[in-house]
């Protein structure tokens, strides 16, 4: 098991509103789990981090944004996104959104992923057969840029030549690939086909194009006269056929036939198509009489495709070539839909039928608050820049919580470093069942007003194995964050900060004996462990449950041995009434303005560590 470093997850309040569905009865374990997690919906009942649904509502702090107008946390789930720009992750070219509709969601240059291992493919000349691991560019000592070319993977050394795909030109691979079947046979692209549709030569041409040798299902050869339509063609033919039918030539409004390209449909066809959905029958004879005009597709040209049930050829191939020659399920899933081939029944099973994967485009997205529609995050449009115009992250509004094991065997190392460095306990060490352990929670206040934090944690963690939890100091204040320039001068200001820290300790010495000298390991309830400029550390005591299973119990689920504490955090502070930018430097002179109380409350989950299994 991987060593576990303590972590904090925050539950976005948006998860409370949507609580669709409840299990119909509590008989099954799943339902039981659901009951626990249903509790998460209202705050007075404990939120169970282990309920299956919790995984969908918990986020690390850095994934959360914050709306300054609603003063609310926003998670990836509840923000409204808008796309700023599209780009190819490989060539980093920006793609205008207009191209998306036409070219689709993948890079149309020469950026491909290896169908075998997903590594990047490089165009290499087959003449000089260069080894991409040695030469990224073709070696021009021998015939420079001599075709033909192939796509080659520099990681697993797959090459498109293996599946009989070669290119004349080293650029515009995407376009070339669209015309190629595995095995090298050429095919018509959709556009060409559209032109040829009326052309009588089309049929002969299509017939001439041999079925790919690799197509297991088709090696039997065309048993009937019908040609094998690839998906694209069959779709196109069907579409043309239906639209032709809907245009309904022998009906009064035949003039509309012209519009049929728009997929526009005459009333007749409307009623016709509508009956696709109606369970009931036809209401009016008139519609019916027109309906007759719509018939079924009867030929491949109209999209009808008789099935070839004879897959014996493929079976033989499977028999002879065995497991090694087949593509794994994962590889098949990564394949883009191959419109260039016939229906995938009993096919696309062999590695030789894999095709290079054009890179999926990626997007830059800006995010809005779903409630007030204000933008809360907006990156620069340009692909190469990493700046943000707006970036309101929760981290600069709500206190961060750092979890660290507290070495109570007050070794000198933990003492000298104060709260800072206590590496006495090995990070990720297993927790002893039933032996009290202490953890230091350090709350750091990012905003420029002092905040008051109230913690609520159940005495026993929910789930099968209930560990005891005691938050020694459930209520405390954190001083305000100081100026931005301090951040800037952090490096140099390091010493001052230490002084600052020490000074504060001194001040509070009287009030808080425990924080006065943290090395003494007596823990006093209701006392802060240590306090800094804009942070406070408190202690949580846990008594890990024993993971011993009664005979017949189901074994541990994944991560069931992790000690997770659900904790309800309530943060209160006073912001200026305008409340526009609490986080900005301007916040400093907020003190002069009118104040208004603010409150933020949410569940979070502290993962402390794994409990040793006995």
């Amino acid at each position: 098991m991987a060593a576990l470093t303590p972590y904090t997850y925050i539950r976005c309040p948006c998860s409370d509103v949507s609580a669709p569905g409840r299990p119909l009865d509590g008989s099954s374990p799943m339902a039981a789990a659901a009951d626990d997690n249903g509790a998460g919906d209202d705050d007075d009942r404990t939120f169970d981090p282990r309920a299956p649904r919790s995984n969908y509502s918990l986020y690390p702090l850095e994934y959360l944004l914050y709306c300054e107008d609603c003063h609310q946390i926003r998670c990836p789930r509840c923000v409204a996104e808008e796309i700023v720009s599209y780009y190819c992750p490989n060539c980093l070219f920006e793609v205008p959104s207009s191209n998306l509709k036409s070219e689709g969601n993948r890079c149309t240059r020469s950026c491909f992923q290896c169908p075998v291992c997903l590594g990047p493919l490089a165009v290499t000349s087959l003449e000089t057969k260069p080894d991409p691991s040695l030469l990224a560019a073709p070696d021009n000592a021998a015939a420079p840029h001599a075709g033909p070319y192939a796509l080659t993977c520099s990681y697993c050394h797959w090459t498109s030549a293996e599946v009989g795909i070669q290119f004349e030109k080293p650029n515009g691979i995407h376009a070339q690939l669209a015309k190629l079947r595995n095995g090298g046979a050429t095919r018509l692209t959709a556009k060409e086909r559209k032109e040829r549709r009326k052309d009588p030569a089309y049929r002969t041409q299509a017939a001439a194009a041999p079925a790919p040798a690799t197509a297991g299902g088709e090696e039997g050869g065309p048993s009937s006269s019908a040609e094998v339509l690839d998906l694209e063609t069959q779709f196109a033919n069907l579409k043309a056929f239906y639209q032709g039918q809907l245009a309904d030539p022998n009906s009064a409004d035949s003039g509309l036939a012209a519009l049929s390209d728009l997929g526009f449909s005459s009333p007749t066809s409307l009623s016709r198509i509508m009956s696709i959905y109606t369970g009931g029958g036809w209401q009016d004879k008139k519609a019916k009489s027109r309906v007759g005009a719509m018939r079924e597709a009867l030929e491949p040209d109209e999209g009808l495709q008789p099935a070839r049930l004879d897959e014996s050829a493929a079976i033989d191939r499977l028999r002879s070539e065995g497991h090694g020659a087949t593509a794994s399920a994962a590889q098949l899933r990564d394949q883009p839909p191959n419109l260039g081939e016939a229906h995938l029944h009993g096919r696309a099973r062999f590695a030789s039928e894999l095709r290079p994967i054009p890179y999926l485009l990626r997007t830059k997205r800006s995010k809005r608050c779903p409630v007030c529609r204000h933008i809360i995050s907006k990156p620069e449009a340009k692909v190469q820049t990493t700046r943000f115009r707006i970036r309101l992250v929760a981290g600069s509004y709500i206190p961060s919580i750092a979890v660290r094991p507290l070495p109570l065997s007050s070794s000198s190392s933990s003492g000298s470093g104060g709260s800072a460095s206590g590496p006495a306990v090995v990070p990720g060490a297993l927790l002893e069942p039933l032996r009290p352990a202490h953890y230091l929670l350090t709350f750091k206040n990012p905003i420029f007003e002092p905040v008051r934090v109230t913690l609520g944690a159940p005495a026993r963690t929910p789930g099968r194995f209930a560990s005891k939890v005691t938050v020694l100091c459930p209520e405390f204040e954190i001083d305000a964050n100081t100026d931005v320039w301090d951040e800037a001068l952090k490096e140099s200001g390091e010493r001052d900060r230490d002084k600052d820290r020490r000074r504060r300790r001194g001040e509070e010495g009287g009030g808080q004996s425990s924080s006065n000298n943290p090395h003494h390991s007596q823990l006093e309830v209701g006392k802060i462990w240590e306090r800094g400029r804009n942070w406070v550390s408190i202690v949580v005591e846990v008594v890990p449950a024993s993971l011993r299973l009664a005979p017949g119990d189901p074994p541990l689920r994944e991560d069931e041995d992790v000690l997770e504490i659900p904790m309800f955090v309530r943060v209160e502070w006073e912001g200026e009434a305008g409340g526009d930018d609490v986080g900005a430097a301007a916040g400093r002179d907020a003190a002069k303005e009118a104040r208004e109380k603010r409150e933020l409350a949410y569940w979070c989950v502290l993962g402390l560590g794994r409990i040793k299994q006995t």
Binding site: K129, S133, L134, Y155, C156, W158
Partner: protein
């Protein structure tokens, strides 16, 4: 980097005995390479041993073929991580710990365990890969980074081992070209890496 030195090469404790060596006159071996062991270490013509490469002949002879490149931190003849139980026959072990064919590249931090382990011609042992004791890797294979070849395993020629042990056959047919490329690389390395065979003689 104020110092006048052109390298910071902290001394490494030369553990174990100094092995008898049998170097071709044309090899390039950095003087910070580490050779230990009791059996003979043979390095054939035009091979390059990078700094901090480790050749260990305690378990048996270590032989490096012609035009091989052993990169920094690569280890030939490491003691078997898991004692090769049935895989490697003890007598063979005593005879030959590791044998590299010609044109073999052993990349950074790769480990070839001792025990009659053989790496075929033109094979590339990737970064941080580990070849178990007694394993026999065929010719022109590619072991991608972090690949583990179990002790005693046999890898046929032209095999590519990738993504944690997936295997496929290299159908590019670029063997001789790779060798040519390697030769060119060696030409350059010989000029760059100060060779000091004398130190080990």
């Amino acid at each position: 980097m104020s110092s006048k030195r052109h390298s910071i090469l902290p001394p490494v404790s030369q553990t174990g005995p100094k092995p008898p060596v049998n170097f071709s006159s044309t090899i390039t071996i950095a003087d910070s390479a580490l050779l230990t062991g009791t059996h003979t270490i043979t390095v054939h013509g035009e091979s390059v041993i990078h700094p901090r490469a480790r050749l260990d002949s305690l378990a048996g002879r270590v032989t490096v073929g012609r035009r091989c490149v052993v990169q920094e931190r690569a280890t030939l003849g490491a003691a078997a991580a898991v004692p090769a139980a049935a895989a490697a026959a003890p007598p063979a072990e005593a005879a030959a710990a590791v044998t590299l064919g010609d044109y073999v590249t052993v990349e950074v931090g790769a480990v070839v365990e001792a025990g009659g382990t053989v790496i075929g011609e033109g094979t590339v042992v990737g970064v941080g890969a580990r070849v178990g004791a007694g394993a026999v890797v065929g010719k022109h294979c590619t072991l991608t980074a972090h690949t583990e070849i179990a002790a005693g395993e046999v890898v046929p020629d032209f095999t590519v081992v990738y993504s944690n042990g997936m295997r496929r056959t290299d159908k590019r047919g670029v063997a001789e070209l790779k060798n040519k490329g390697l030769a060119r690389q060696i030409d350059v390395l010989r000029r760059m890496i100060p060779s000091n065979p004398a130190k080990f003689a």
